[in-house]
């Protein structure tokens, strides 16, 4: 019963996880059918080789700079700051990236891994369509076949992204099983991978799934937090007081938080989708309301019944509509390093309109959840503090939801 190598000591520094078995404390692991095992081993070996290869690092950085549009600005939101009259609010503008969200950081990194492994075919799941578009984009750029699984309900909600993926040459497969959303798209992508494992790389879109995916996706997304560190330093600020990010699977949050985990004076808040309210069954607040279980290859917090069946999440935002969460977030919750909270659909919509009207920026509904938390946080802050919100994506894909909200509110004046 030997283990590949000793896990880090339980008191290991908080940013030194996962251990060799892919665990963050008691969360993570590799709960997959044996068929996937060789692919995960190959992926881990390739990743470990390339992460120390200067040529790989250089190519990744170059793609991020010249193709994705990095670094993204750290924008001082003067009007939003004035609105609250407390801490200074900065927005990390991941919405300005090619394809409109942070997802492209990860898909560039993973397609380079796929190429190194000699894979010709790429699959991915998508909820809001942002990861699907980012995957279809890099598959086109690197000349690979691409198939995206998307819940039939999400295809309706995010139709412009379906059209984008098709224009980019990807096949979009509608998933009609279960709740017809992100969880079912992920299950169907895993079934595809089981079937075509020798030729296909599965680009998981968040810090979820079996080891080494949570590690790999964090590695490619941590550029967000690293840039924030440099940008604040350049502005003469040693460190922020608060970092805020929305959490569905949790990749944009992990990307922002990770470089700051060992800085004890930085407080971090992950905002989950409260849907119609966490006292109703209609939410996706996995960390606030779920409990640990095993799903999609990982041990993590899950929304589930007493009998361990996975529950139907609800969020107005298709990208947060997932009943699990990255295992590292489960770990950071239990370690009390990150505070996890939630805002409702309604609060997120209001925050989106506030940003649009005050700063001239239309955020993605996912990112609007992070913005909505400012309402609760800012009154407790001081003017000499700094708050950084990860504006993980732009709102073009959500226009039909926003317009409907506007009409319900009675036209242009509202809210």
């Amino acid at each position: 019963m030997s283990r590949p190598s000793a896990p880090p000591h339980p008191s290991s520094p908080i940013d030194q996880w996962p251990d060799a078995r892919g665990y963050f404390g008691e969360f993570g692991g590799q709960f997959v059918p044996e068929i996937l095992r060789p692919a995960l081993t190959e992926l881990e070996t390739t990743f470990n080789r390339l992460r120390t290869d200067p040529d790989f690092e250089q190519e990744f950085r170059q793609e991020l700079r010249t193709y994705a549009g990095r670094p993204t600005p750290l924008y001082f939101a003067r009007n939003l700051t004035r609105y609250y009259g407390k801490a200074r609010i900065y927005l990390k503008r991941e919405d300005l990236l090619h394809t409109g969200a942070h997802k492209i950081n990860n898909t560039i990194g993973q397609i380079l891994l796929a190429r190194a492994m000699g894979k010709q075919r790429i699959i991915a799941e998508t909820g809001a369509g942002q990861h699907g578009v980012a995957t279809a984009t890099v598959a086109a750029r690197f000349g690979m076949d691409c198939c995206i699984y998307m819940g039939a309900e999400d295809m309706e909600r995010q139709f412009p992204n379906v059209q984008r993926m098709r224009m980019l040459g990807a096949k979009v497969r509608a998933v009609h099983s279960g709740t017809r959303t992100l969880k079912d798209a992920t299950s169907e992508a895993l079934r595809d991978w089981l079937t075509h494992v020798a030729t296909t790389h599965y680009i998981i879109g968040s810090v979820v799934g079996p080891h080494p995916f949570p590690l790999i996706v964090r590695y490619f997304q941590k550029v967000i937090g690293e840039e924030v560190q440099e940008q604040l330093k350049a502005l003469g600020h040693p460190s922020p007081s608060f970092l805020i990010a929305c959490v569905g699977g949790g990749s944009n949050a992990m990307g922002l938080f990770y470089p700051f985990l060992s800085s004890p004076d930085v407080q971090m808040i992950g905002v989950e989708a409260g849907g119609l309210g966490v006292h109703t069954p209609h939410h996706a607040a996995t960390l606030s309301r779920g409990r640990p279980g095993i799903f999609h290859g990982m041990k993590t917090y899950l929304l589930q019944t007493a009998d361990g069946q996975i529950q139907l999440p609800h969020s107005i935002s298709a990208g947060l509509d997932y009943p699990g969460v990255g295992p590292e977030h489960s770990f950071l919750k239990e370690q009390k390093r990150v505070t996890y909270t939630q805002v409702t659909d309604q609060e997120a919509l209001q925050a989106a309109f506030r940003l649009a009207r005050l700063e001239g920026i239309i955020p993605a509904l996912e990112s609007a959840h992070a913005l909505a938390y400012l309402d609760r946080l800012l009154p407790t802050t001081h003017p000499d503090q700094i708050v950084v919100v990860n504006l993980s994506g732009r709102g073009d894909k959500d226009m039909s939801t926003y317009i409907q909200y506007l009409e319900n509110q009675g036209g242009e004046k509202a809210p």
């Binding site: 283990r3 709960f31 044996e34 068929i35 079934r191 079937t195 095993i294 589930q304 009998d307 361990g308």
Partner: protein, 269 residues
């Protein structure tokens, strides 16, 4: 390990007979049906049964078993109810029963409590396709303590050294999938696949059962060349889907004969 399952496997080897095992989903099409069907399988000479515990998101399963799991969940099946079905069957029937499902429902029930209850109910083994060797190591001592076999899976893409490692942790038999993919696909073994199965027998010390996509008498004979026997799931569930419960007593033994002997199957084919 389960004495009964050991004995059955030893007999099969001594008689040089191929094992036939059927998979059914607990509570599909109804809870009553499950309790009725398993005794019929015993009478028809099925060597052992896999009884599925339904899960909302069965990632290793094709559409037929997904549908059966949904139906079972709608019928109110829980881990507790599956164990109750076993208890009812065990009042009069001793056919080896292996419970097969996904890890989370069992984990929520409590792994040790589950294993203890299984021993009390004379369940013979457990198959959890999403609990691979490394993740199972923590639990294997419970299984040993409660004389329950934990069945590990392998696939045609499993490296030889890993097959041998899994063999060392095996107590009853190894479940080998006929291909890489989900349950219930149409599949014909390729020359590479045949090579794998021939090699497999030299690698392992325990019997091998082949499942996934095994549907017919021809499959039964074909895979029988390479393994102790086969497991048939999707084809049996499809057969049950169209079957009037009043016909179970005649149709189910006929289905078993059709697989073993190639006799014409009754309706549902």
């Amino acid at each position: 390990m389960s004495q009964r399952l050991q004995q059955r496997l030893r007999h099969l080897e001594a008689e040089e007979r191929q094992a036939l095992s059927l998979y059914l989903m607990a509570g599909y099409p109804t809870i009553e049906a499950t309790v009725q069907i398993i005794p019929l399988l015993e009478q028809a000479g099925v060597d052992f049964v896999e009884l599925g515990i339904p899960f909302s998101d069965p990632i290793a399963d094709g559409p037929v078993i997904q549908m059966a799991a949904n139906q079972a969940l709608q019928n109110g099946v829980t881990v507790q109810r599956v164990l109750e079905m076993v208890a009812t069957i065990r009042q009069r029937h001793s056919i080896p029963i292996l419970l097969m499902g996904y890890t989370n429902p069992v984990y929520q029930f409590g792994m040790e409590r589950f294993v203890r209850t299984c021993q009390d109910l004379q369940v013979d083994g457990i198959i959890l396709p999403d609990l691979p060797l490394e993740e199972s190591l923590h639990y294997l001592p419970f299984f040993q303590k409660h004389q329950l076999d934990f069945i590990h899976l392998i696939a045609p893409n499993t490296p030889d050294s890993r097959i041998q490692l899994i063999d060392r942790h095996t107590t009853a038999f190894i479940y080998c999938t006929a291909y890489t993919g989900v349950t219930g696909k149409d599949h014909r073994l390729t020359p590479e696949g045949e090579q794998f199965f021939r090699r497999l027998n030299r690698l392992v010390t325990h019997p091998v059962m082949i499942g996934f996509g095994v549907k017919t008498h021809q499959d039964f004979q074909y895979y029988g060349q390479f393994a102790r026997g086969v497991i048939i799931g999707t084809a049996f569930l499809k057969f049950l889907a169209n079957l009037d419960p009043a016909a179970y007593a005649t149709a189910i033994p006929a289905f078993v004969r059709s697989i073993r002997k190639g006799e014409n199957s009754p309706e549902g084919k």
